[in-house]
Chain length 166, copies 2
């Protein structure tokens, strides 16, 4: 194995500008979406994401470990959030009959209603901030870039929901 060179390859001026703008998006976009959801629906961005995943899956139920992959969260984080959401009656946990270690999170009717109530405002803001300012080609290019980045971030691609068809 050759040793790493002492100096890394620094970013060029252009790369650095691109990266700084990406950091701004990475920071502000979740904050802005989260603030809207919190205000209008009393949900954090992450809570919404959890409920929304469940609402879209056939059966509205998923193992916590799978849900953690799909939402890119640690099991610990998810466990805490699921406990809170269960206390609010938005979902419930039930043991997985197929595996004694596992639990499944199941969306309740109230949880479904919460997603349905929150979704329009959320989607409108996603459109306003991300989808509408880009034309179809640009959105495609953005998606392609994200796919490449995800290949590095998550080589197993285990976070891509298998029920979504391209």
């Amino acid at each position: 194995m050759t040793p790493d060179s002492q100096e890394p390859r620094w970013l060029t001026a252009e790369q650095r500008l691109a990266w700084l703008d990406m950091v701004r998006v990475l920071t502000r976009l979740p904050a802005t979406l989260g603030a809207q959801l919190e205000r209008d629906a009393g949900l954090t961005f992450f809570e919404y994401h959890v409920l929304s995943m469940l609402s879209e899956i056939p059966g509205h139920a998923l193992r916590l470990s799978r849900l953690a992959q799909l939402t890119s969260s640690s099991l610990s984080r998810l466990s805490n959030v699921v406990k809170r959401l269960e206390a609010r009656d938005l979902l419930r946990r039930e043991p997985d009959p197929a595996d004694g270690r596992a639990s499944r999170a199941v969306l309740t009717a109230a949880g479904m209603a919460a997603v349905e109530q929150a979704a329009p405002g959320h989607v409108t803001l996603v459109r306003e901030l991300v989808v509408d300012p880009l034309d179809a080609v640009q959105l495609d290019q953005l998606h392609a870039a994200h796919e490449r980045i995800l290949d590095r971030l998550d080589p197993a691609s285990s976070t891509r929901p298998e029920w979504l068809e391209t």
Copy 2:
């Protein structure tokens, strides 16, 4: 003023896939970069970002409110972080002579050393995850998309550091 239509314009299947992949990037990328910085340099991503902004500015000093804009953070969050960084001697606060309400954060020698120690590993990971998997054209397209998104997120563009030339 025409009323909003009751139903929002939902996302098309393609838009939805693009958005879901963007959410994955938004979630995982900061977490991954943060974990590396924490492990190797004892800094959160945000702390690194603050110190790194200071390290790049002429004079290594900035008003807190300007630093908050540049790092896309609330003044409250910044104030907390600056207090911690000051306790670790990585920067210090001094009153702004020009305005009795304001303080300036000034990078210390130890703070500069911390940035210099953390930067190589951080830059290497940014390259690995974002810059290198894209070719120059794709990175440009990504940057262009981010610029449009930032126009919506931050219409005043006040977060773009004026000392950076394109």
